[in-house]
Assembly symmetry: C2
Homo-oligomer: 430 residues x 2
Amino acid sequence: MSLIVQKFGGSSVADAASIRRVARRVVETRDAGNDVVVVVSAMGDTTDELIDLANEVAPKPPAREMDMLLTSGERISMSLLAMAVSAYGAPAQSFTGSQAGMITDGDHGAASLVEVNPERIRESLDQGNIAIVAGFQGVHRATKDITTLGRGGSDTTAVALAAALDADVCEIYSDVDGVFTADPRIAPKAHKLEEISSEEMLEMAANGAKILHLRCVEYARRFGVKLHVRSSFTHHEGTWVIPSPDDTTVSVHTQEIPLEQPLIAGIAHDRTQAKITVVGVPDRPGIASGIFRLLADAKVNVDMIVQNVSVSDEKTTDLSVTIPETQGDLAMSMLRAAEEKIGYASLEYNDQVGKLSLVGAGMKSNPGVSFTFFDALAEHDINIDMISTSEVRISVVTAADRLDEAVRAVHSAFGLDSQQDAAVYGGTGR
Amino acid sequence: MSLIVQKFGGSSVADAASIRRVARRVVETRDAGNDVVVVVSAMGDTTDELIDLANEVAPKPPAREMDMLLTSGERISMSLLAMAVSAYGAPAQSFTGSQAGMITDGDHGAASLVEVNPERIRESLDQGNIAIVAGFQGVHRATKDITTLGRGGSDTTAVALAAALDADVCEIYSDVDGVFTADPRIAPKAHKLEEISSEEMLEMAANGAKILHLRCVEYARRFGVKLHVRSSFTHHEGTWVIPSPDDTTVSVHTQEIPLEQPLIAGIAHDRTQAKITVVGVPDRPGIASGIFRLLADAKVNVDMIVQNVSVSDEKTTDLSVTIPETQGDLAMSMLRAAEEKIGYASLEYNDQVGKLSLVGAGMKSNPGVSFTFFDALAEHDINIDMISTSEVRISVVTAADRLDEAVRAVHSAFGLDSQQDAAVYGGTGR
């Protein structure tokens, strides 16, 4: 008998009919001889509606109360799902995050798990129940106040429970068939991956792929949890995200990469970034770090960094960074305020940029990857603004209006195109 | 400094504007120098909407899950109210029933309080907060499952907290100005009582007055909690419900009734009963008790009982009872099934009946009350079907279409009519 954790997002439980459909699926899984733990998000737009209500009663709702409010969303979906499961003849019990032993720190709105004690879940399973757990929520050990894990927190709940219960697999259900080689809305010939390493998935998620949250993939990788990303609308196999025992030591020299390891896993893209260039920065030690400290203090998330080589006699350089577009105003005002201290010539801001990331563990040992990548972009006359690389990823920044073409060009160049369009899989690229 | 518990029902927190209005009132109470604990119901029709959702996903939702579902209603209203209170500048914290220490038995849907441990509420007050508590809910000590106290449970939560915290008063807010001498929709000259004893209030509530739930009045009486029933739409004084130290010993002989004790507190009425007459029952010991055991086993709530004197040689009698109309079918089918065993001649069922109850602690020592009462009904040619009395109450059953006239006749006969119509008080008689 296997233990399976299944996570269903808000769109999978948006109304009574959807909840009944999920319930049937859960009961099928149990009837196939498995123990089942289900993690569920709030129904459809419930969370957004509750946030709207909060803003109607208070301009700045206290974070403790916001968490208390939002956690009612999963309380509703989980109890309804437990009822629906019972109606299909399988005993079920629902549990809040607190009841399921999701112990967090006290950072309301973005709490981190500090411990998972799923005793009540184990007991409930032992009694023959399907256990249904509220995603996204926990309880602060010290104050016993209710907390939330922030956006995407339900995935984290599912993976954390799977780890604590030593589950055989953690299934993440959505309205998409799995992880694709690229967003099928942009690259119609993208195909679904049968498998991807957690290291690759981490790079995909960190660079714009929205199907799994970065935090959940990190957690799964750290605790060796096998993820199965699949659609709640079909029974097709989705994509398995396989944790490597120790990703950092994988290399061809030790034969630890399976022979069938594909060169490239896929292409992620991201339109949510903006680029800031600080022009004419004095090329002296400490100046760059001063700029980064400034941005770090303002909690601006700097992603890519490129410093031009100092070429003139002026001993100045240009420093470009990408940051989330939503933090653009903040970052620019911080930099403007520090003009005198830094001593730059000017600031440039550009939010019409896109980022493309090619991800593949196989590229570690294949020097030809870079050539194929840049050649494909050159063939299409696509200008590259910034470059950054990791062992398993190459990212470039292009003009926003060239990004889609760039994704298609690279997808083709690496032979990722399938024979048929991805649309037939039902994938929406979410 | 006083400690005041304020309870607001669902209609008082039906939307964002209402919640802000309640928040202002709560903050005013605190600004007047009081410690304030607020007990709140779910917003408007939330509970009914959640019940509808439950019925959409499961024909017979398990009671444990129904409680989990319904308790999300107060979680929403309490956190929104805490936000609104904070927005008016007063620190506030909301607490679930479980967090507030409302410990119950495991009777899901109709749990009874077995203990109240409001340590967290006390701490929160000591830290200078307004504490906002979810009404209607608690936690089962043994299983740690969430429970609800049943309909009207929020009033019980408020009174139980007031008792446990030794509050100076428990204010019950609704859209009505207080307790009236009769329902102003029926008797327009009914007037608001300034004060009523908890014994009288108990009889009013038990006999159809809907402003306070019987259980809450019983609790308040038992623990000596002073209730103040008032409107959340005005600042007028409402009606004080005063617990007598020992109601059962009050008598004129020992001068324990204050001289200003009014003869009559008010008139309650009830349209929700049906009358069953078992005709031709053998007048033998054990037969009547057999009928009552039958009804008790089916959990039918028998209210009034009248057995006619056996007059004929047949040695048979007629037995009439009133029961809730909603249990009419159940009771009739139980009786039909036992026809042979009981050996009655026939069954009569009538749901076109009304019950009128005259309540007043003063009637204990005033033999003239019965005369005035029956004379008023006779004057209006109103036929009396059944009679029952307690020390402080006379109840009669009449035809349903004569009930309103009966209420007005008795109201006038006891000099309860005010100079002006009750409508000017804004009372709706709920």
